[in-house]
């Protein structure tokens, strides 16, 4: 079970949960499982260029399928906030 930390603005889609655990082998599976459970989380992909993913505190820029996860891993999803 990898642990996903849900960013504040998206917790409206996860019943206000701060973190969600999912059975997963790769980062791609992890995101897919999250969205399957909470369909509103699909909006993290509205602007793919904006989504940053941190695994155990380190940002990854690898293809999601190429990133293996274990039950001890913590995945943080961050969508930057912008203004004019």
């Amino acid at each position: 079970m990898a642990k996903i930390i849900i960013p504040f603005p998206f917790r409206r889609y996860t019943d206000s949960l701060r973190e969600v655990s999912v059975e997963t082998n790769t980062l791609a599976d992890c995101i897919e499982a999250l969205i399957a459970r909470y369909p509103g989380m699909n909006s993290i992909q509205d602007h793919p260029a904006l989504l940053s993913i941190f695994i155990n505190g380190k940002q990854t820029k690898e293809e999601w399928n190429a990133v293996s996860l274990t039950h001890e891993d913590e995945v943080s999803l961050i969508v930057p906030i912008a203004g004019g």
Binding site: I5, P9, L50, Q59, I78, P80, I81, A82, G83
Partner: protein, 185 residues
Amino acid sequence: MTQLSQIDRIVLPQSGWDEIVSHCRRKLAGEFLPGESEIRRAYGILAGLQENGEIKIDYVLPVKKNARAVEPLKTYMDTVMEKYAKPSKTPMGQRGWITDPLELKECYEVCDQKDLQIFGTYHMHIVAWEGDPLRDMPTVLDTVLAKNSNLFTFIIAMVDESNPSIKAFYEGKSEQEVPVVIEPV
């Protein structure tokens, strides 16, 4: 719990307001902290607690870094700004701001540790526009960038630096303004 879109009022303690204004004035004066992007814009995150239809801001987090020039965020911002930003003499690359993902992650972690909820971001408007001398309303660009954010956009009007004001708009929509009450300590 009341949805943020249904909030009736926002309470900002005087100390928090002083901190925001101080941040804005410092950046306007061109005084920068170590590790801070050297730009004359101030923006930050406001967090606190919600009780029914009221929000109380308990925590002001001035944001230090601007990732405006970092790809792929730069391309995204350039595209949005070319489409929605009002023409200006300021070069496009120097307009707009976007948080550094790592700094934002750390902000979220601090708020989680303090059991606070993030309610929105603030940024300042400093130049009067024709027909808009106060600049206390969100721009079209502000609204576009806040779309679906489920956050408030707090506009700090600093055209008259000696008499700043603050207004809050859910997702940067001018028609969804919520009164901000500055509470004396």
